[in-house]
């Protein structure tokens, strides 16, 4: 009762972190005790090594404990990783840059399409009965299912990747936008008209601002769809041998299970970080302004 809120929050986080740490250490310990084969499933130390090595930082946490651990490689001949290049030119940074650029282009396009299409579906009943079911159907299609079509239509190139990204997220955003607009309380429209807002001004001053909470939700959901579509497309369409999805494929080609897991963790982390520190914050701000959520 007397403990301030932030203190209990910090306490909770510390406990969560502590449990994770114990689990990871137990995994590592069991791994070393049993002598598991590192090419079947990696230990946490391997994953850390692999992640850092993608950043051109070479550590050897996964090697047996001994003199020089964890910075010296006990078996330098077997190590295929190139030393000495800076972090900025590292495979992970360049892959993330490429994926980020693709997201920026593809997601922006899909968002613009989703908002415009959502508005049309909402306003014009005929368009809704014509395209609404189609969009709903397309939305249920896993985005990698667009890959064959992308390859045949655009070839294995950037346009193919952007096509998959767009198709994998645009329709769900259109549907989410339409549903959000449909759920608008009619009183805003009535009040706007009563106060003299007509035509385009009714849209820009009343209906679109009123749909901001729906839009923020659309944005957030659309991003996660787009991110997943991109990763799938990059994994299969190995264009220019760049992108975070491509890096996952490299791990597979080299049978480097530690790198595979490391890339997967990076994918999850990036997706979560953008969601939490960008879209969730936008959504919370909007909802707070509208009085729909308590500020935290």
């Amino acid at each position: 009762m007397s403990t301030p809120n932030w203190k209990t929050a910090i306490g909770r986080r510390a406990r969560v972190a502590a449990v994770w740490l114990v689990l990871i250490l137990a995994w590592e310990g069991a791994y070393r005790a049993i002598g598991w084969k590192p090419w079947v499933f990696p230990a946490p130390s391997h994953v850390i090594d692999a992640t850092l090595s993608m950043l051109n930082i070479h550590t050897y946490l996964g090697e047996p404990l001994g003199p020089g651990w964890p910075l010296a490689n006990p078996m330098p001949v077997d190590n295929p990783r190139a030393p000495g290049t800076p972090v900025f030119g590292s495979p992970l940074v360049s892959a993330l840059t490429y994926s980020g650029l693709r997201m920026a282009i593809g997601f922006t396009a899909a968002l613009a399409f989703g908002v415009a299409a959502g508005l049309l579906l909402w306003r014009i009943t005929f368009i809704d009965s014509l395209l609404g079911p189609l969009f709903l159907g397309l939305q249920t299609l896993p985005s990698v299912c667009w890959v064959p079509l992308a390859i045949l239509t655009f070839g294995i190139n950037e346009r193919g990747i952007l096509f998959v990204l767009f198709m994998g997220s645009a329709f769900s955003m259109a549907i989410a936008m339409r549903d959000g607009l449909r759920a608008l309380p009619p009183i805003y429209r009535a009040a706007g008209i009563m106060l003299g807002a007509r035509g385009l001004r009714l849209y820009f001053r009343v209906l679109l601002p009123a749909s901001l909470p729906a839009f923020a939700g659309t944005l957030r959901q659309g991003f996660s769809f787009a991110w997943r579509s991109l990763l799938g497309a990059e994994l299969i369409l190995l264009t220019q041998r760049r992108g975070i999805g491509f890096l996952l494929n490299v791990g597979r080609d080299f049978a480097d299970v530690a790198q595979v897991v490391a890339v997967m963790i990076v994918m999850i982390a990036v997706g979560m970080a953008v969601d939490r520190w960008c879209f969730a914050i936008i959504e919370r701000r909007v909802r707070t302004r509208f009085g729909l959520a308590q500020p935290r």
């Binding site: 106060l195 003299g196 807002a197 001053r205």
Partner: protein, 286 residues
């Protein structure tokens, strides 16, 4: 900075009536032989039938009646949000063709825009009218002062209490200087104390500005307290059952015996109407 005038509800009402504002030249609402069906075709139920109601400029008319008798429909017809199936709706001899700021409406659920602050809500109609910023600011300030919310202008809608929201909604409607103010149970969701305060507030505002007001309520006390004329409606179809003038001078004390007597008359009318409707429904089901 000028000190905020104390909200007047903390003061007793003055014994002598203060001078009212001048009676306006505009604001005559003429509803003649209004018929309303919500759908096309003769199968749609007849909601309103033969409603003829004239509100003089500056008059405060209150409509009461059993639930579902068509009060909201009538108000929406006056607002231009619904078209009557038959009959004519005129404002100052011009037909009402659609919603517009000359007939400002205060909704039951305030309908304030949550993405704007209180002051921006009040300003909205002035923006739509295309007024310059300086005049908008001036008018918003005086409208906020009118409802004793000068210091709450920066607040977001959800930061206001229910009573404050309704006052902002009233300010938003009045700031555009409508010819007629339409109010649909604006205080229904408030507690009794707040409602009493807002009655006094509204009465004073109306007394100063002399808008024509068409006001719908379920509360008989509210009706006789505010009205120059109480219209009791009957249901299925909605017709005007009785008009009861309230000739008690303004401002009115809350505990006037005359008001209590009138209240009893209105209440009896409504109860009879409800009994009639129920009996009709019973017979209809047999």
């Amino acid at each position: 900075m000028n000190p905020e005038p104390a909200p007047s509800h903390t003061r007793p009402l003055p014994a002598a009536a203060p001078a009212s504002g001048p009676l306006p030249a505009r604001g005559r609402l003429d509803l003649t032989d209004i018929q309303f069906r919500p759908g096309p075709g003769p199968d749609a139920p007849l909601i309103l039938d033969g409603i003829t109601l004239r509100c003089e400029p500056g008059e405060f008319v209150v409509v009461v009646g059993p639930s579902g008798c068509g009060k909201t429909s009538l108000l929406h017809i006056a607002a231009g949000m619904l078209r009557p199936t038959a009959g004519s709706a005129l404002l100052d001899s011009a037909p009402i063709l659609g919603p517009g700021p000359d007939r400002a409406m205060v909704f039951q659920e305030h309908g304030l825009f949550p993405w704007l602050t209180a002051a921006e809500n009040v300003e909205f109609g002035l923006r739509m009218m295309g007024l310059p910023a300086a005049e908008r600011r001036h008018r918003v300030e005086s409208a906020l002062r009118m409802v004793s919310l000068s210091t709450a202008g920066h607040k977001l809608v959800h930061e206001l209490s229910g009573g404050m929201r309704q006052r902002i909604a009233i300010a938003r409607a009045m700031v555009v200087e409508p010819a007629v103010l339409l109010m649909d149970e604006p205080f229904a969701s408030l507690d009794a104390q707040t409602r009493t305060l807002l009655h006094e507030h509204l009465q004073r505002l109306w007394w100063q500005t002399r808008h024509t007001v068409l006001f719908v309520t379920h509360s008989v006390g509210e009706a006789v307290r505010l009205a120059d004329r109480v219209i009791v409606m009957s249901a299925h179809p909605g017709r005007i059952r009785r008009e009861i003038p309230v000739q008690v001078p303004h401002p009115r004390p809350m505990d006037s015996p005359e008001l209590a007597d009138l209240g009893r008359i209105v209440r009896t009318e409504i109860q009879e109407e409800v009994a009639r409707v129920n009996a009709e429904l019973e017979n209809g089901h047999r």
